[in-house]
């Protein structure tokens, strides 16, 4: 018999501390597989966020640094500019990227930094106990919106990927999810492209991944898959938001 699927080399053997059914573990694996397939493990530098994925450096088997909450794009900018031959990516939650780190995100995109961002949108601040994030859905109950998010006082779910797509500096932005094997395989393709773009010096690439947080959503892991399908995707539609490769060919 031959082993055909197993832990990629770019993941350590360490057991992750995520809740049962958490999407972070799947996204970590996809990134690790892409790095193995591109043969860049020895020259990749990841920038981990503050959030549930704060210990990502324990799970990835390549160089990973930590940034203050929301600041990974600024840290990645510095690393990439000093070490342009390395492949530099950030891994950020929605609180990290679209709340406290909005300025860093917008300006890294606008400067067209040649970095890759993997943006894990689970619609809440998972780590701190499931508070509302800017991405929280209307009427979604969280610990800080116990009656459901009311747009009159708390605004609307932010579509930061679409907003970043409006900036001249961004090159590739796609939204994917990991709520089924089919979608997970598609997500991997997008992540691979976002890394390849950097290797080919194309510039700022971001993949938003709609990811399960069964704990903060108050559902079980199987129900969390349906939650993405029924509640998140209608607000955060999947697909390519921007791809300068396609616009150049007149296909988008």
């Amino acid at each position: 018999m031959k082993k055909i699927f197993s832990r990629p080399e770019s993941l350590t053997a360490k057991r992750n501390i995520y809740c049962s059914g958490c999407g972070h573990g799947i996204v970590h694996r996809l990134i690790a597989e892409v790095i193995d397939e591109l043969g860049i493990r020895e020259k990749t530098i990841g920038v981990a966020p503050v959030g549930c994925a704060v210990f990502a450096y324990d799970y990835w088997n390549f160089d990973v640094t930590e940034a203050a909450h929301g600041r990974p794009p600024a840290v990645a900018t510095g690393i990439k500019r000093v070490l342009p031959d390395r492949v530099v990516f950030t891994y950020q939650g929605d609180g990290d990227l679209a709340a406290i780190g909005t300025a860093e995100t917008v300006h890294a995109a606008n400067r067209g930094e040649n970095i890759t961002i993997i943006f894990v949108n689970n619609g809440v601040y998972g780590m701190t106990g499931g508070q509302m994030a800017p991405t929280t859905l209307i009427a979604q109950k969280t610990t800080t919106t116990p009656l459901g998010r009311d747009p009159k006082i708390a605004g609307y779910p932010i579509k930061i990927s679409e907003a970043l797509g409006q900036l001249e500096g961004s090159v590739y932005i796609e939204r994917v999810t990991v709520n089924s094997p089919k979608n997970t395989i598609k997500a991997k393709r997008a992540i691979k492209k976002a890394f390849q773009n950097q290797i080919q010096n194309k510039g700022f690439s971001l993949v938003e991944v709609l990811s399960m947080c069964p704990i903060a959503w108050g559902v079980n892991p199987v129900e969390a898959l349906k939650w993405i399908e029924q509640k998140m995707i209608p607000v955060f539609p999947l697909g390519v938001i921007k791809d300068k490769d396609l616009t150049a060919k007149g296909n988008l």
Binding site: M1, I4, S20, H24, G25, I26, P221
Partner: protein, 71 residues
């Protein structure tokens, strides 16, 4: 014919592999693992086609998929 090997120490009993196995070859064990989860268990009846759908969904990367030689 294929098989899977589940790392029961890392499994957190989320059932995502269970619901996506097209051959219904995975169930949760009655036993508990050291972390207190009912880990997934492979029902080895020769039906596994090594499709890897269980592997694709496992948030804990606790599944290895093996494929038999072509007969």
């Amino acid at each position: 014919m294929g098989k899977i090997i589940i790392n029961i120490e890392q499994c957190k009993g989320c059932k995502l592999c269970v619901i996506f196995c097209p051959k219904q070859l995975i169930k949760l064990s009655e036993k508990l693992n050291p972390a207190g989860y009912h880990p997934a268990e492979f029902i080895d009846n020769g039906q596994c086609n090594s499709c890897g759908l269980c592997y694709q969904m496992c948030p804990d990367v606790a599944i290895e998929v093996w494929k038999g030689e072509k007969r």
